[in-house]
């Protein structure tokens, strides 16, 4: 499972970094083309907007794997270790639920609703843009499952430790 996570990380890293560089290049091209060409490109702005959505969604999923979304951990940090692990399992489960309901199910609905809608400049189905949501939702499902598994392992270990101490 940790191997699968590594591959997942690598995949997202490769896609997002390539996209990021491409975005920088396209944005600069947008400025340059205004001065070099008489008719500047009509598609750069839309390309950048849509890329940002994909970059953000994949980035957000990646961050779930790294457990680095902003949270207020004031209370959590003050809990004893075994309660903290239990709380972390709850938190990850809420992630799981969120990704399943809003991102995969809701996002899937949005994709099917907008597949026939065409973007003004690139003339591609808007569904391709909304697709970023269920795709990163699936990644989040995967990452939080991995996190939960690790937490369950840790829980076993700590309760094992506690039992040893009690004995």
């Amino acid at each position: 499972m940790s191997n699968a996570k590594k591959y997942c990380d690598k995949l997202i890293e490769f896609i997002t970094c390539t996209l990021f560089l491409l975005m920088v290049a396209v944005a600069c091209w947008q400025v340059l083309s205004r001065y070099i060409l008489q008719s500047p490109s009509a598609v750069t702005e839309e390309f950048l907007r849509f890329s940002l959505i994909w970059l953000s969604m994949l980035g957000a999923a990646y961050v779930v794997g790294k457990n680095a979304h902003l949270a207020i951990t004031f209370m959590r940090d003050r809990l004893p270790e075994d309660s903290r692990i239990k709380l972390d399992i709850v938190i990850q489960s809420i992630f799981l639920l969120f990704a399943a309901v809003i991102m995969v199910f809701g996002g899937g609905k949005a994709v099917s609703l907008t597949m026939s809608q065409v973007s003004p400049s690139l003339q591609i189905p808007m569904g391709y843009i909304y697709l970023s949501l269920p795709v990163s939702g699936l990644f989040i499902l995967f990452y939080s499952s991995v996190n939960i598994k690790q937490l369950l392992d840790a829980k076993k270990r700590t309760s094992g430790d506690l039992q040893k101490k009690a004995a």
Binding site: Q38, S39, P40, A42, E45, L113, T114, Q117, S121, Q123
Partner: protein
């Protein structure tokens, strides 16, 4: 939604000029009056619920019942609406009204039925013309090499190219600053862009070449309209139509006021333009639309409504 025998219809719209807002309010007033208060309209103004594309989607799913968007925003949903982006589709305002008040638009309104919403009526959004920072546009060559902001539409881009200008597609929020900083030399819109968006502070020449007339369209969720009892449905259609007549009136008045304000407060020069050379320059676009599947019929129908045409007897 139903609340104690009263049906409440949610009507969301993006930012709009005052006459259009007044007309949407008039629609609600008329509908309530016609149904003895059994149907009420609740408004979500000023993009509170999102931009035009989002609002159409919300109407599609029924999160809101009604919305009003520009015809150009509907191009993404139904090819039929792209006809309104064609420059010089209409000869003048009278031609525009003749078409929009006839049955020609019915298939366009119904073309989105499968998507879950239909057109109810239209509101006049006036004509769109060029306005520039440095001087008037009297002939296409005045646009040569000028960076003109256009909406993100292929037709608009091609139109400016055919006229010799350099089209710069840009979101509306950046236009003012870009005009001011000289990233843009001009833009194209109706007179309200000068007053309400403040572009008149920078662009001092407005030239009536009147290249397009893109109507605003009032949309309603298909299930909403189907689920209404027959007399309420009738009231919705009547209120819509009457609000359109009301809108034509207040729109004209507001345009006159905007023009006067532009001249007095901003010192804008308005000039008339001989449209012939402009029409000739964009003729290739007409050829393109004439031969497009699905648009051919509508194009011909609209042509028939021109002054002196056979269909216009």
């Amino acid at each position: 939604t139903k609340q104690n025998d009263q049906t409440v219809l949610r009507f969301a719209y993006s930012s709009n000029s005052q006459p259009v807002k007044d007309s949407m309010a008039e629609f609600g007033r008329l509908l309530e009056e016609k149904t003895n208060g059994e149907v009420k309209v609740e408004y979500f103004p000023d993009s509170q619920l999102g931009g035009e594309r989002e609002l159409i989607e919300l109407t599609q799913t029924g999160a809101v019942d009604l919305t009003k968007v520009s015809g150009s925003a509907l191009e993404s949903f139904s090819d039929q609406y792209s006809i309104f982006g064609l420059p010089y589709l209409f000869d003048d305002e009278a031609h525009f009204y003749r078409v929009m008040d006839s049955d020609i638009v019915k298939p366009i309104y119904e073309s989105t039925e499968e998507l879950g919403f239909i057109g109810l009526t239209y509101y006049d959004s006036g004509q769109r013309s060029f306005y520039m920072n440095d001087g008037p546009v009297t002939k296409p060559s005045d646009l040569k090499g000028k960076k003109i902001r256009v909406m993100q539409s292929q037709t608009a881009i091609k139109m400016v190219q055919l006229l010799g200008g350099s089209p710069t597609p840009m979101g509306s929020s950046e236009v003012y600053t870009s005009l001011q900083q000289g990233i843009l030399d001009g833009a194209e819109n109706n007179e309200f862009a000068l007053t309400e968006a403040g572009h008149g502070e920078v662009s001092k020449y407005y030239s009536y070449d009147e290249h397009t007339r893109v109507p605003d369209i009032v949309l309603i969720n298909k299930e909403t309209i189907d689920s209404l009892p027959k007399e309420h449905r009738k009231a919705v259609y009547e209120a819509a139509k009457e609000s359109t007549e009301y809108e034509k009136m207040v729109w004209k008045k507001a345009v006159e006021e905007a023009k006067a304000k532009s001249e007095q407060d901003f010192g804008i020069t308005f000039n008339e333009v001989d449209k012939k050379p402009f029409q000739e320059a964009v003729a290739p676009l007409h050829e393109e639309f004439k031969n497009k599947d699905g648009l051919k019929n509508i194009y011909e129908e609209i042509q028939k409504k021109r002054q002196g045409s056979e269909g216009n007897q």
